[in-house]
Subunit: 139 residues, 2 copies
Amino acid sequence: MPTPHYGQPRYHVIADALRERIESGVIPPGTLLPTESALTAEFRAARGTIRQAIGLLRETGWVSTEHGRGTYANLGPFGSPPSETSELRRRRRVVPDRELATLFAVDEGATLLEEQFVTKVDGNVREVVRRYRLTPPAL
Amino acid sequence: MPTPHYGQPRYHVIADALRERIESGVIPPGTLLPTESALTAEFRAARGTIRQAIGLLRETGWVSTEHGRGTYANLGPFGSPPSETSELRRRRRVVPDRELATLFAVDEGATLLEEQFVTKVDGNVREVVRRYRLTPPAL
DNA sequence: AGAAATTTGTCCGTATGTATC
DNA sequence: AGATACATACGGACAAATTTC
């Protein structure tokens, strides 16, 4: 099989499928997810891909894995055992407001690179950080 | 080559080496890191391992990666570096835009605390960071 | 404008190390 | 000790975004 990833990446799709099973109760909280090899067989995906999907669920608090034991389903994002802080990211090109245009000494028609970091605690947004930089030369 | 990882994992070691270069100025903020293939050659590591190391730096805010372009060195984890590179700051209350209002789950009439950090290098603005929070912990 | 080269993103298959049961 | 499962690492391939010519 080649490597088609037209829409979402494979591991995104797999993560979504697993998340849905947890949400719907097919995989009850506190129970083990299928093993990596089982998921590998079911989704016809490589181990690394399965592990990326599980890693995604772990970062978002849906599961917790224990070394040498397995991966457990949690109650939900930041539901039961896990997480204090999470961090999401987004990047895009934006038109600077007057202040930014002045600081960077560019026209207001120019574009800046904006990165946004969202820090959550127990599922609540604690702070949002927006970083602005000049778009690297040549554009 | 086998896969020894006795002490620290290789991607930890590589990440540390790269972070050291950023901190010491060998790789100045805003400039590109060597390409993945260059790092592959230098560290004699597989590309996946290099990408793991870079991913570590990205999670901790040391670098930012752009598809098809490269990986840029940042100043450090967010606004952290109280470095000699001058840094101004300003504090004020602002009305959240729609996105911020949604993230913080507040009305658009509410006010958020905005802190602005301006980092200059050689007198030129390198980056502007704006942090938004609900309640100031210690104003 | 368009094609080629460069660079990061994703995926595959495999092998070995390490921790737990 | 053996079985199971996660962690790390290798190498190769194709896809997508960007830059360069």
